[in-house]
């Protein structure tokens, strides 16, 4: 299975999805004009990974600002993780952020409310 690598732009985050490691890294702002287009390859990668093997999948997030359509897309991703978790798969999210911007922590908390898998929100020291 391929890795996925998307370079960061002003309105889209850096994305690295590593199939050998079972890790997805996303960092930066996300407010693309067409978020569904931007997120579809990421969602496809996750679906393939979850479908093709039974390795754990971990997310390392350093996302900062998400527009509402990106929030919707991230919720679609977390819903997939939740479903896998319910089926016994090991999945986890670590979302680290700069504590000066408390909005990031609040956003992560709202996502976490709907997830029962390990979801860690970590203010960076």
């Amino acid at each position: 299975m391929n890795n996925l690598e998307i370079a960061q732009t002003a309105s889209t985050p850096k994305v690295l999805a590593d199939s050998a490691q079972g890790r997805v890294f996303m960092a930066g702002d996300s407010y693309p004009e067409n978020p569904f287009e931007f997120f579809q390859p990421i969602i496809d990668w996750i679906d393939t990974f979850l479908d093709k093997n039974d390795k754990p999948l971990g997310f390392d997030l350093e996302l900062i600002y998400l527009n509402t359509s990106s929030i919707r897309a991230m919720m679609d991703i977390f819903d997939r993780l939740e479903e896998s978790h319910q089926n016994g798969r090991s999945v986890s999210v670590l979302w680290s952020y700069d504590p000066d911007n408390e909005r990031v922590g609040e956003l992560a908390e709202e996502f976490k409310e709907d997830c029962t898998f390990p979801f860690t929100i970590a203010p960076r020291a």
């Binding site: 004009e33 527009n67 509402t68 929030i71 919720m75 909005r103 709202e110």
Partner: protein, 178 residues
């Protein structure tokens, strides 16, 4: 007066404490650039990072709504033009944006804004979460979350005004006080 008097215009900007003003055709690249300038300016003013985040977020939702609406209404003359103002009023930042809409859409948006005005923080959060789980098929390319998100960030109810341009079109202005 045949040419715009920049001195007078500047007086108005200063008096109304307008920091950013744009009027014209808007696209994704411009939204990004103006947003960058806005963030830089606010950071330079030593604003709290959470305040900068809220202002930027409302600015992005408003301008992307206008873009999306224009894309969906290529037949509507002037719909791709946006008027955007970020200003200060007393101790608050105000983000305002206006665009040409079909008259019915202007009325409908005004009603949606009025519907949100009676909701407290908990109700707005619940509504946001409900809207977040709407099936994508019925959404018409938008997540339908922008207005609710703005209302959650605002310190006062959002205000929308509609001014008739002709029989079919209106100018819609939305104002968010942070």
């Amino acid at each position: 007066m045949s040419s715009p008097d920049l001195y007078d215009l500047r007086e108005i900007f200063d008096r109304q404490q307008i920091m950013v003003c744009f009027n014209g055709p808007i696209n994704a690249a411009l939204i990004e650039e103006i947003g960058r300038a806005l963030r830089d300016y606010l950071n330079h003013q030593q604003e709290a990072p959470s305040a900068v985040a809220d202002i930027f977020s409302v600015y992005i939702e408003m301008t992307q709504n206008i873009r999306r609406y224009a894309d969906q209404h290529p037949e509507l003359a002037g719909a791709s033009n946006a008027a955007i103002i970020v200003s200060r009023e007393d101790d608050h930042y105000v983000v305002s944006a206006g665009n040409v809409v079909a008259s019915d859409d202007g009325v409908a948006l005004k009603e949606r804004v009025a519907g949100l005005s009676g909701l407290d923080r908990a109700a707005l959060k619940a509504l946001f979460k409900t809207q977040l789980r709407q099936p994508r098929e019925g959404l018409n390319g938008s997540a339908g979350l922008g207005l609710i998100d703005m209302a959650r960030k605002a310190s006062r109810p959002l205000s929308a005004t509609v001014r008739e341009i002709d029989a079919a079109r209106s100018f819609l202005s939305l104002r968010v006080v942070l």
